[in-house]
């Protein structure tokens, strides 16, 4: 009986192209998506690719002619690559979510130090599979990316790269840089004009795999910023800072502590997310209902970036000095402020009823 009834129920698709009343009051999201793609995503990935290519070039020179000067150039190329990647890493849409590309570029947190152990073992055994891009790219994700490169270039034994006896280690670094060049090229390719992703990204629709409505698109974009900020706080700052107890600080759990790039990377993370906010022009959704909100958010981003910039020292030194440690605690707080502002006020100004983060079904 029930079955018959069920079968008699006509397929009702209430979804329609029409925007809801609430959405209709907001400017369309299309131009925001377009600016996000053209002004933030594509140029950002291009810069990652350029930095990785420069790094590969400098490593090729180092491997061909080992010297202190060439090692320094390679280390500097690494720092530039970290900087460019840190501006883009919280974008979690598209090709970066396929084939473990995100983790192959940077695997962190690595609570057990898997990457370091694997890299050390590969160097010690002169493992042949890590010195060619083609074979390295199918190794453990922890051996392929920036974490591995950092250990090779800055970890124990790295000074040998300036001499002739570290040719295997140097070839490993060069393959890892080549791998980053390939990965960043794949990211660029995924977002190319005419590609499936670009078409989907620019036009919310009922059959669109990314988002069906303007509200959902806004949700996804805002989610990149909020989740990014949460991750900076939870996985980057809290990796080494224990807000409650300085005795439980863990300077060697910080990302990029060997290269001294911990704070520079956090600063670039914040810069990148502010750029996403500004360059996408997402603020138009709040212009009518909260005209000053975008400036407030910018101010708060600037505060956080300025604080991170002022903490320009190795993490161990920052944690050891009460004044700078307090500033790290403040940075954590400043990030929380931006999260709350985006999650509550901005989300509501943009028509997302109760704040962004409530929409996670868990």
């Amino acid at each position: 009986m029930n079955r018959i009834l069920i079968c008699l129920v006509a397929l009702i698709v209430a979804a329609s192209g029409a925007r809801s009343e609430q959405e209709a009051a907001l400017p369309p999201i299309g131009p925001v998506l377009e600016r996000m793609l053209v002004s933030y995503i594509r140029p950002g990935y291009d810069e990652v690719n350029i930095a990785a290519s420069d790094l590969e070039t400098s490593l090729a020179e180092l491997c061909a002619t080992p010297s202190g000067e060439h090692l320094e150039a390679a280390r500097s190329g690494f720092r530039a690559t970290v900087d460019r990647w840190s501006r883009m890493e919280w974008l979690r849409i598209g090709p970066v979510m396929s084939e473990n590309r995100l983790e192959r570029i940077l695997f962190f947190p690595d609570r057990k130090g898997t990457g370091r152990k694997q890299v050390q073992a590969a160097i010690a055994s002169r493992n042949e599979s890590v010195i060619k891009v083609e074979t390295l790219s199918s190794q453990s994700v922890a051996m392929q990316g920036l974490g591995a490169l950092e250990f090779i270039l800055f970890g124990s034994g790295s000074d040998q790269l300036a001499g002739a006896e570290a040719s295997h280690r140097c070839a490993f670094a060069r393959a890892a840089a080549g791998n980053l060049v390939n990965l960043s090229r794949e990211l660029i390719d995924g977002w190319r004009d005419g590609g499936e992703l670009t078409a989907a990204f620019l036009a919310p629709a009922a059959s669109n795999p990314l988002f069906r409505t303007d509200a959902e698109a806004l949700n996804l974009l805002l989610g990149q910023m909020i989740h990014g900020l949460e991750a900076i706080r939870d996985t980057r700052i809290n990796a080494f800072l224990d807000r409650e107890d300085a005795n439980r600080d863990r300077p060697k759990s910080a990302l990029f502590w060997r290269s001294g790039m911990t704070m520079a990377s956090i600063r670039a993370n914040l810069d990148g997310l502010e750029a996403m906010f500004n360059l996408s022009g997402i603020e138009i959704v709040s212009q009518q209902s909260a005209p000053r909100l975008a400036d407030t958010i910018r101010f708060e981003f600037d505060q956080a970036v300025r604080t991170a910039s002022s903490l320009d020292a190795p993490v161990a030194a920052l944690l050891g000095e009460p004044q700078t440690r307090d500033k790290l605690v403040y940075l954590d707080y400043a990030i929380r402020i931006i999260i709350d502002r985006l999650d509550q006020e901005f989300a509501q100004a943009g028509g997302l009823a109760v704040g962004f983060s409530f929409g996670d079904g868990d």
Binding site: A200, E216, D234, A353, G361
Partner: protein, 358 residues
């Protein structure tokens, strides 16, 4: 049906005294008269969290504060308590007395565990089984609590996977079915997902008496980023499992799986419109009172999809922004949204992800 109704009335009569202290006489009468009740967690306009009991007309008849954000529930007609669980990585649960005038009981996981937001009572209603994270190792466990002794923790079972989420008791009353979502988290890192490249969701059947793993089911490797999380059991004892995809949204992956104890775990291909509407994300699933109709919601895309489990065909695709909670009611379903809608009513609170029928 009569004994259940009597128990329900007994629960309501006692409940009014203790945990429904602020109830108006009119609402108390309403509660006593109600034959259909639901519970759902919420966040109010001041940012406070709690749970509400609602009647069959979608009216709130009572509310109770929670110390943090709630998520799912455990309840059985013959169990004394209604238990509301904290959302991960929360470690509290609140038990409300359904039969007598006892005070609510707040209890916690051990210090090195946290709840995942779901649990279930044993068939006799005495023991509570809760999905938990042994977060230093990342192992999923089921904590066992004694509902007859202040929710004292008696022990735990391994779930054979990471990130156990919803637990259901199979109709035989002897078997637990657990969806291991596969995502590793650690409270030191908030809700960050730590193992996406290696995540391996599974669905397991566990002997409730011994904790033995009776069977272990995994997806094809290309689907290893489909976190299996929410479940409902149909009249044929098939388990319908909703997933949440952690990969590239352009990937062509299904979001619904079905576990048949004879045939194993298989993916359910929905027709194009239903699949697109869900957006590779199932926030909640429920089986109808007919035992055949299945409802799947997605708060991301804002939709309730109903399906015929006999044919796999979509019956209705109802776009409802922010909707996640869903539960069987009469010949259909009641659903709730973060914007406050609950069935045909709208309330001044954001409903969390699940509704339980009492």
């Amino acid at each position: 049906m009569k004994p259940l109704l009597l128990e329900r009335r007994a629960f309501l009569a006692g409940a009014g005294l203790a945990w429904l202290g602020g109830l108006t006489p009119a609402n108390a009468e309403k509660l006593r008269a109600a034959e259909v009740l639901f519970a759902a967690a919420y966040k109010d306009r001041q940012g406070g969290y709690g749970i509400s009991i609602l009647d069959g007309d979608d009216a709130i008849v009572s509310s109770h504060p929670l110390p943090g954000r709630g998520h799912g529930f455990a309840a059985r007609p013959n169990a004394r308590w209604l238990v509301a669980f904290a959302r991960r990585p929360g470690n509290f649960a609140l038990a409300l007395d359904r039969w007598k005038a006892a005070e609510p009981q707040l209890f916690h996981t051990p210090h090195n565990r946290h709840f995942y937001g779901h649990g279930v009572f044993s068939a006799d209603g005495r023991l509570l089984y809760a999905a938990e994270n042994a977060y230093e190792t990342g192992d999923g466990v089921i904590g066992i609590y004694d509902g007859t002794d202040g929710f004292k923790r008696l022990g735990e079972f391994a779930t054979g996977g990471i990130g156990p989420h919803e637990i259901v008791l199979m109709p035989d009353g002897k078997t637990l079915c657990v969806a291991n979502g596969g995502i590793r988290t650690h409270p030191d890192q908030g809700r960050q997902k730590l193992n996406l490249p290696t995540m391996a969701p599974s669905v397991v059947l566990i002997d409730i008496a011994t904790g033995s793993l009776l069977s272990f089911h995994v997806l094809a490797s290309r689907l290893h980023r489909l976190s299996l999380r929410h479940m409902a059991v149909d009249a044929r004892s098939q388990v319908w499992i909703g997933g949440q995809y952690e990969g590239d949204l352009l990937d062509d992956v299904p979001v619904l799986a079905c576990l048949d104890q004879d045939k194993g775990l298989s993916m359910v291909e929905l027709d194009g419109a239903a699949a697109a509407a869900l957006g590779k994300y199932a926030g909640s699933v429920a089986i109808g009172n007919d035992g055949v109709t299945l409802a799947v919601t997605s708060p991301k895309s804002g939709v309730v999809v109903t399906l015929d489990t006999l044919t796999g065909k979509a019956l209705e695709i109802d776009m409802k922004p922010g909707t996640c909670g869903v539960q069987a009611r009469r010949d259909g379903f009641v659903s709730s949204s973060e914007a406050g809608s609950f069935g045909n009513a709208t309330h001044d609170r954001a409903w969390d992800n699940h509704i339980i029928g009492l």
